[in-house]
Symmetry: D3
Subunit: 314 residues, 6 copies
């Protein structure tokens, strides 16, 4: 496998294509403009400065452009930086495409789709099954491409669907051990809980919050959608309200964004499964480049903790 930009060490010279994640103009102490570029490939991203930047540079090296660079990995204030020797925009003949540079889920969309379809197929309660299938179908394309969040966990292409698939497998394993759980509710809750993110967030790349995302949030958006789906499908049983409650309460506490705490067993367990999968994802990413006997970087969403990999854990 080709080395990613994060796999190099200080002192390495690199020559490769990279995607401009962001580009910010500044003025140097000599009064001339420069660009601070964040360049990424599937391994992660690195900062680079382009000094004496022309107006043309500003256009060529703006966000979402692909560039070819030659440069050296340096250490600047404790973090790696790419010192540029050469940079040029990618040409059509370079035959590189956006998706080559984006981190994406380790499972294909088709595989994920078929797995989720199977879980819906296993549901026995027709009201729950129909609402879930309806909403998934309505937003399926975005659902398969969006990240699960702008940062912290599953913040990559198809991260949302990947998170859901992992949670479904967890749900099945847990429901196997605690048979009092109502599987249909748990599966439907998992599939719908974050689906509102396809309206809360702007899309899979350079993800930001939409106005609706800021003013209402993905929880409220999806609670409304469940109500609409029930109306359209002519479903009026208590299942509608209960599904709304599962989505409404899945953040667990008011101060975490759920105006009602979980008040149904499966809602409480959904909150746990969501948390557990998100934490496993964050822990694996934090520790993947850490050597046995060392500590990871601090992980913001895990209370700024720095995790240790035991020296006997080869």
């Amino acid at each position: 496998m080709v080395k990613g930009i994060l796999d190099h060490e200080v002192g390495d010279q690199v020559e490769k294509f990279l995607l401009v994640k962001s580009s910010t103009k500044g003025t140097a102490s000599n009064g001339k403009p420069f660009l601070t570029l964040i360049l990424q490939d599937q391994s992660g991203d690195i900062e680079a400065k382009l000094w004496d930047a022309s107006e043309e540079d500003e256009i060529n090296y703006s966000a979402e452009k692909i560039v070819k660079v030659l440069g050296d990995i340096q250490n600047y204030r404790g973090r790696n930086q790419l010192k540029l020797r050469q940079i040029r925009p990618a040409a059509p003949t370079d035959a590189v495409k956006l998706s080559d540079f984006l981190e994406t889920a380790p499972v294909s969309k088709d595989e994920m789709t078929s797995k989720i379809t199977q879980y819906i197929f296993e549901m026995k309660n027709p009201n729950i099954q129909r609402i879930t299938r309806h909403l998934l179908k309505k937003y399926q394309q975005a659902f398969l491409e969006y990240p699960a969040a702008t940062k912290n966990h599953h913040e990559f292409v198809s991260g949302l669907a990947y998170h859901v698939v992992s949670m479904l497998d967890l749900s099945k394993a847990i429901a196997g051990l605690y048979p009092s759980l109502y599987k249909d509710l748990l599966y439907a809750g998992v599939i719908l809980h974050d689906l509102g993110k396809v309206m809360e967030l702007s899309g899979p790349i350079s993800t930001t919050y939409t106005v609706e995302g800021n003013l209402l949030g993905h929880i409220t958006i999806m609670v409304n959608e469940i109500g609409k789906a029930a109306d359209e499908l002519g479903i009026s049983g208590e299942e509608v309200m209960v599904l709304q409650h599962l989505v409404l309460s899945h953040h667990g506490k008011a101060e975490w964004g759920s105006p009602k705490p979980p008040l149904i067993k499966e809602a409480e367990i959904l909150h746990y499964i969501d948390n557990l999968d998100a934490k496993m994802n964050m822990l694996d990413r934090a520790l993947e480049r850490v050597k046995p006997g060392e500590f990871s970087d601090r992980v913001f969403a895990l209370d700024q903790r720095s995790f240790y990999k035991p020296s006997f854990h080869k």
Copy 2:
């Protein structure tokens, strides 16, 4: 005006009709059953014990029955209690009716209706006006009868509408002083903010929470209703989302039940006006029987504070 049950002092003998607010059966230390009755009129409620209660008594003196009593006001553990000498169920010939015993708003339903109608009439934005009018009409009957809460403030018949009318007057006064406020939004926010209570609560008497009230809450219920109203009226402008945001955020903070804090000026002011009117209502009720130079009882929803009426405030 006739003296209410709370207007009597220890030692008074009273003879009057009262409404049974609740009735609980217990067993005395002699092994015989007794009833603990909470009896009310428009001035408030008082506890009474009915010793050696028969099964017939249990039926005759259950909640929402009206009774005629003769008894003495006593002090028991620092609170007034009614020591019963005689009690009998009200007869049809007594010509007393339920509403005589319920505390109710000091303004008539008609007056409130016409005032609110006038505020809606003054709105200039047709989308806001149509949604507000539609929802008010849909739930008008309950809106005019429900209390604003089960306890703490405006917990009386028509309390919800009375709270809304007071807030509308406050909104008008404040918008007169700060002309940058968008009046239509403020008025609509006031009218809709607590309207979901007609589904969250069980009704104007012996008010409890419905299952929907417990699992979703009045905020989420009304946000959904605004979405439905817009669909039915064929309205799709940003006004829909903004009205939903005003309702969603009117508790001010996540830990107080709003998953999004106010992010629009009128939403912030709506939260303030709601609070101010609720506090004035609680303060007035806490202080109405307090003499100058004395402290009120502790007010639960005002951080358990006990308020002082200055001795120069005659």
Copy 3:
């Protein structure tokens, strides 16, 4: 199956053997002594008053005695109470024994022992395996009899072992889905995490805290024990410190009793698995007598929440 004391309804007359859980002397308003008895069988416990109690009664009906009663189920202040008609101490000829009245885990000690033994057998790291086996063996008898807590969850005979077995099964299922987890650590963490309770608590019946339990707590006690075990077994690898860290951090946060938060992946997951199994246990117990469409009693250790059983969940 024979009806337990909690399976009766108000109005039923019952005649059965019960265990005295506690007995408290009081003075009635007529000046005579009486006993407040809490009587239990495997279904739960109920209060009963024994009026005009003699000194002999005090002795005969003290904690851990078995009695034969005849009485009526009554409602007193919203809770069921047993009104005694007759009571007598159990005689040897009654052929009843203590364990008939104690709630106990639904799996036998032998089954649990063999399951845990199998998990230890699967460990590949000899240091972890030897320490775990050594400590389990040292405290095996108490481990198989103690509850996991004095209240809240798994508060029954053999509750501690039952909790551990459930967590081991959960660990296996989760490690199957997230292969980066180091199974040996997870299994050892599960087995040792609460083992200190056999010194923190007084025993399986009428459980209270020991002085050592109050002053040091089960976490510190077990961290010390791991150090001693390593000394005795001549083990000095990093595994000792890491196992101590897993036990030390398993409450997750300083304010919950862990002076260090989890700083190793398996420690974080151990905390989650512990929580998840405890919550499932509490939820199942809270909901087991609740009918579809109703709310449970408030559950103290689940933030005083009252849980709803959906009406479609037959």
Copy 4:
């Protein structure tokens, strides 16, 4: 009206007089000194760098000096900056004066004075009236010039008096709707509540905290002043203590600086009116340059929220 420095866009060339708000010396990477100047007019302030600064420059371009600049508006790290081409100190012949560059209340001192005088005139309680008049007169000059705070709200010349006048108008409107309020107390509380700021703060320009401000704070300072005023005027009624309580409690909670929470109705309402006027001021300033359909900058004192201006709010 002449364009202020904040009314220009990136790329504009500007030539105008500005006031030096602050000047800080630094050393560039070439080892030479430079000045970081914050330059302001009534529209707000902007940063500029003066490279290769001489010792004379340091003196000429220090805080509170007026300068004439020629330069270009640039963007540096997301914020506007003024790139200097020319700079010179203002000369007497330039006929510019300090007050031309300071933001000030939109109402004249005379107007404010006459309005407040009228409110005092309306008071009926002579003790309250005399104390209020006495203290206002004692500190009148500073009261009319000081800001209400060093930042967050009303942080401009005469901001304190302007805040008081707005609050008086609000008080009148609210007291009109809730007639149980004691107007004299409310008006006096408004006028006195922040008057201690004339001793807590250093003055209307480059405002900092005095030693007394740091060690005692404006609340304690004014409570003491009320006591002294009463002594000097020979007033001994309960009004003295009640006015002290209003000032003492106007921050609402201990953690916000009030050792006693409001325990009198008018004290509670004073706290609300203070908050409401401060929030309106912050909201208006945050939104005044925001276009419909956009979000404001984050507002520090409003919990870092960023406010949205609806697109239909032209």
Copy 5:
């Protein structure tokens, strides 16, 4: 020494004079009035019921009356109670006086006065010395009789002066070890810090809060008094403000009632010394009747902790 009422055990018969601390009327289940009396001597207090109480009894056995009782110590719901056989009001010929029944400091007023006088005499800064002496003299009589609080610590006659004397001795010892401390400030801070309690509280017996105590609190009262004292003595140095700051900040944090935290070294240390002496007093009282190897009752003001007396601590 004569046995106090708390020194008896269940089963003892007692005959002695006691002071009525409080008397509350109730109605028994037979409908007749009874009195709940709290009776005290210097060892503490005990509850007693007087059944079938006449109106005369109500008057004879009201708060602050002295009575002669004959009765038996009983256990009621885990607490000792006095079962009355006979009770009569004390007669003049009984030659008992109020102060015989009140707990009081273990050091005489004269001793305390001479000790404090000595500390004031040692002060070298005349401004600090004069203000301290002036205020102590002004309130000396009450200072020597008041308790330091209504509950928690030093809640006995002369408790305030006793607390101050202990703190002065502590100050001297600590200043001896840390010579950078300014002794005059520390001594003055100790003497003045709680002196406002003589106005905040009602008096040494049946102590409650005054209106001024509720609305302003002892901290604000004393800060005002220091200002007045300085005016009267014609002192204007920074010592005035610094002494006010010491009193103002001695609770340590805003949420504990100090609007400013300690910002001077001696203010910080004063807060510590105050805390340390209060804690020692509470600990000694909690443990004085506890046997080695046992736990004390829970102490409310020490976070509800129950303290252990080691078994080797004879």
Copy 6:
């Protein structure tokens, strides 16, 4: 005494030996490497930039090297900086040694040793005495050299022992005033409370946390050590558990790192004495360079407070 690097003012030229505390490489805007050096002597540390740094420079001027510098004190962004003119590594002939540049306790190791020995000698309880002596002896060398913390208080060579000695003196003074305190426990608690720091921290210079320090912490480490010591000495009395409790609880609250709060009187007082001595140390250091009438820098560990030195405190 020779002036330390912190005793100079802006504009001074200095020539002196300094120790490199840390050295970080960066890249200047001209693309060339430079070193940011933190240089220290016993008075404190200062930053210096070494521009155009060669690879040799990087080696010569790395952490723990001693250098000779010639340069000027400048102000950069409000803090002093050393502008280098010349720099060279110290040569053997310069006759300077590491300990000349390290801040160290003001009392010699011998003096501290003999003082602590005396306190141990005074103990009367042989179990407490033997455990304390054993552990002190085991770690004596490190104990006499380590700091008490990496920052905040006593963060200098021998800081740990110095802190312990001050606390012992405080203990003696306090126990003199409150004779109910058990001196042996208090002295042993003081000596052992932070002894685990010799394993938690890396050493007296460039102090960091060890892996054991991160995963277990000094409290748990020392609780284990007390258990081991008792085993080795064959001591089994309650003293072992009580000493463990004193160490375990000395941070006072769970959120501050003590899984059990102090539950023994001497444990509570130990927590206080620890705090008091740490605060005095921080206050003295914060104020030692502050002139009367000025405020200190903000002190991080004292809630970011800035302390005032009264102008009359010469």
